[in-house]
């Protein structure tokens, strides 16, 4: 859902730039407090994995494709703010080096995928974990559903930005974006759960998950 240049009005592009710059600044301050020595390689590797996985478009119905956003995965591995920072770096490199997503639209893309994506995933994950419990199955199902939510809500934000910009009316853009991304979100959920199950099996101690699950079950 990388928005190219030309789809957003100057007002929407500028205001999302301001919000995203503030969001990244806040995320960086929060992340700085949380980052320990052992997290540093994990942050690099998570961001690198998300970049590589975002290149792998998978087909969904009707000649359309989608790819991982990775916000939920980053949030669970790194925590919401460090996760948002990691996804922001991926989206910024994609725009600057690979011309994926416009330069003027970069603020909106960071806002939708990194900030809204990670925060939605965080809230959904926290809520679902309370219902589904701290078991391995509970973690994986919560992660998959949170990943689905994060993609759908991020796409709704993109639709709203298109509508405010006068590119496509909300009544057209919102159902189309949400409907398509409800399908793409299934792939997002599946990939998130598979990667997470690998990490749970090998280096559970690296996860931010146990911290959150302890809080949630207390």
């Amino acid at each position: 859902m990388h928005i190219p240049d030309g789809f957003l009005s100057t007002g929407v592009a500028a205001s999302t730039y301001v919000v995203s710059a503030g969001g990244i600044g806040f995320a960086a301050r929060q992340a700085a407090k949380k980052i320990g020595e052992k997290h540093i390689p994990l942050i690099g590797l998570t961001a690198a994995f998300i970049f590589a996985a975002q290149m792998l478009n998978f087909p969904i119905a009707g000649g359309t494709s989608g790819h991982l956003v990775g916000a939920a995965l980053a949030m669970i591995l790194l925590g919401p703010w460090t996760g948002a920072l990691a996804v922001s770096m991926v989206v910024i490199v994609q725009a600057l080096v690979f011309q994926d997503g416009g330069l003027m639209a970069l603020g909106a893309n960071v806002f939708n995928m990194a900030i809204v994506g990670c925060l939605t995933a965080y809230l959904a994950y926290r809520g679902l974990r309370l219902i589904l419990g701290p078991t391995r199955k509970g973690i994986l199902v919560s992660a998959a559903l949170a990943a689905w939510f994060s993609v759908v809500i991020a796409s709704a934000c993109a639709a709203a930005e298109l509508a405010i910009s006068g590119t496509s009316p909300l009544g057209v853009a919102l159902p189309a974006m949400v409907g398509t991304h409800a399908l793409i979100g299934i792939g997002e959920g599946a990939i998130t759960a598979v990667v997470l199950s690998f990490v749970l099996a090998t280096r559970r101690d690296l996860l931010q998950v146990p911290t959150y699950s302890q809080e949630a079950t207390r």
Binding site: M1, H2, P4, D5, G6, F7, A31, A32, K33, I35, E37, H39, I40, P41, I43, G44, L45, T46, A47, A48, F49, I50, F51, A52, A53, M55, L56, N57, F58, P59, I60, G63, T64, S65, G66, H67, T82, L85, A86, M89, V93, L96, V97, F98, Q99, D100, G102, L103, S155, L162, T167, S168, A173, A176, M177, T180, H181, I184, T202, L206
Partner: protein, 98 residues
């Protein structure tokens, strides 16, 4: 010195495998592109003012699959180094301020 396999070796290997799979990616338009085509606003899209590794195809390489894999590996290295460096700087800044 004895070589011992660490978790991050496996992670780097997995990431490189994913990057090498990139030529297999679906070339269909993504969700937003498809909607822009269907709803008739795709023409509003403007091309980037410059291209470095545009569209994930490494320039000057004539084999498409190889050009995509190279673009993927370059991107992985850039993102890895950037995210590693930023987190190291943030940690250093936080420790410095305490």
């Amino acid at each position: 010195m004895k070589f011992r396999l660490k978790w991050w070796h496996a992670a780097v290997f997995l990431i490189l495998v994913v990057a090498c799979l990139s030529p297999l990616a679906s070339s269909s338009p993504d969700g937003l592109e498809r909607i822009a085509e269907d709803k008739g606003f795709i023409d509003k899209a403007q091309d980037a003012p410059y291209h470095v590794i545009g569209d994930y195809v490494f320039p000057w390489i004539h084999n498409d699959a190889l050009a995509t894999i190279l673009a993927g590996i370059v991107g992985v290295v850039i993102v890895l180094v950037l995210a590693y460096a930023v987190s190291r700087l943030l940690r250093a800044a936080n420790r410095g301020s305490q």
